[in-house]
Symmetry: C2
Subunit: 247 residues, 2 copies
Amino acid sequence: MANSPSGESLTDRIVRVLETFTAERSMQSAAEIGRRAGLPPSTAHRIVEELVEAGLLERDEDRRIHLGMRLWELALRGSFALRLRQAALPHMEDVQATIRQHTQLAVLENDEALFIERLSHPDAGANITRIAGRLPLHASSSGLLLLAHAAAPVRERVLAGPLRALAPETVTDAVVLRRLLAEIRRTGVVIAPGSIETVSTGVAVGIRDAGVVAAALSVVLPRETDPAAAVRALQDAAARIEADLRG
Amino acid sequence: MANSPSGESLTDRIVRVLETFTAERSMQSAAEIGRRAGLPPSTAHRIVEELVEAGLLERDEDRRIHLGMRLWELALRGSFALRLRQAALPHMEDVQATIRQHTQLAVLENDEALFIERLSHPDAGANITRIAGRLPLHASSSGLLLLAHAAAPVRERVLAGPLRALAPETVTDAVVLRRLLAEIRRTGVVIAPGSIETVSTGVAVGIRDAGVVAAALSVVLPRETDPAAAVRALQDAAARIEADLRG
């Protein structure tokens, strides 16, 4: 319906417009949106107008465009992400209070780890993750956990590469990675020192919903910290989150 | 662009499809979506296909449709709601820990209070609000706070009614309401006993961003509780959230 000469649907073009907005670029002019979305000015203008009209985008007094609260509402109201995050948040707070480091919740989305919640601790160091941000599956502890439990086609696609190194210790050899994933399925735990940053260790466990691993719960520890307490806290929290999801 | 015979844009029809999903109805068949969106089956089918293709909707093995993680990601990545919620959450946790009741964050959206965060306390009673849920501006403490600081056209539209009573004490008289709003602007605080439920009192204060009231921070207290401590905790948290938004 309403396909452009290139065969792209209007839905695709709407997605391209929405994709131009990021945490660093939350306000744009209609011209900037069009340029970044790679759309002809008149097309970009019409789509932006329609989206403003529908409340998915909003325009301020300076005619700068930003994402609308209505989009946020529609995206969250019936979402599994919200249900999962609601069930997880109180238990993530317990982990954060005990371990005093960054605590994250991630799901598998389009062959990457998508972070849907993150609690920071004032005592904790820098952390690359951010809510609605993504990391490669093979590099982050959450990603490895999700990849180990992913459907076979997803796993094979990722193993077929390319496997980019985010740090010197990121596992980028498909044979080593395949062995690591089998080990993660056996133990249910990821302990990934230095895979994103040399100074830290990612620790992740899975959260099951309706029998399948639906999310990864993780903390980022300073490299020198023994991960045993974090593993216990994460496993304990995951069990309680799973019980709440069943409730 | 791509308007239907009724003059409705494809964007509007996409919004109508997304609107059929709610917390109680997060999984639907394509036929149910079409019926609830009031769209002809062939139109509904094409829009659902496009949205699945783009990842905004997802289809499970039983061909049930649910909202996609991609929609969630696009809606949040560049949103003010996320920035506000990120700044507010640690301070909301402090309020919740001190007051031990439900703590909420709301914004004005399309003449209603839209709740973008809610922390529940195990000791607290029932609470009508829910994340991505809405309440009338004239009835909830958050809504009254937002209405008092809303642009004049919004305020006049709401005062022009209808002003529905959610409880026997909901203010539904426009003259009384106008006086109440002036008082709220003067004090900066809403204390609304029984406006939603006879057994509880809503207490709300404003959070300013770039000089204007952008959100309401509120707690729901049992009716018999003195609101003074809650007012202090909310004002204190709001000041810290405003400082974090500026940072």
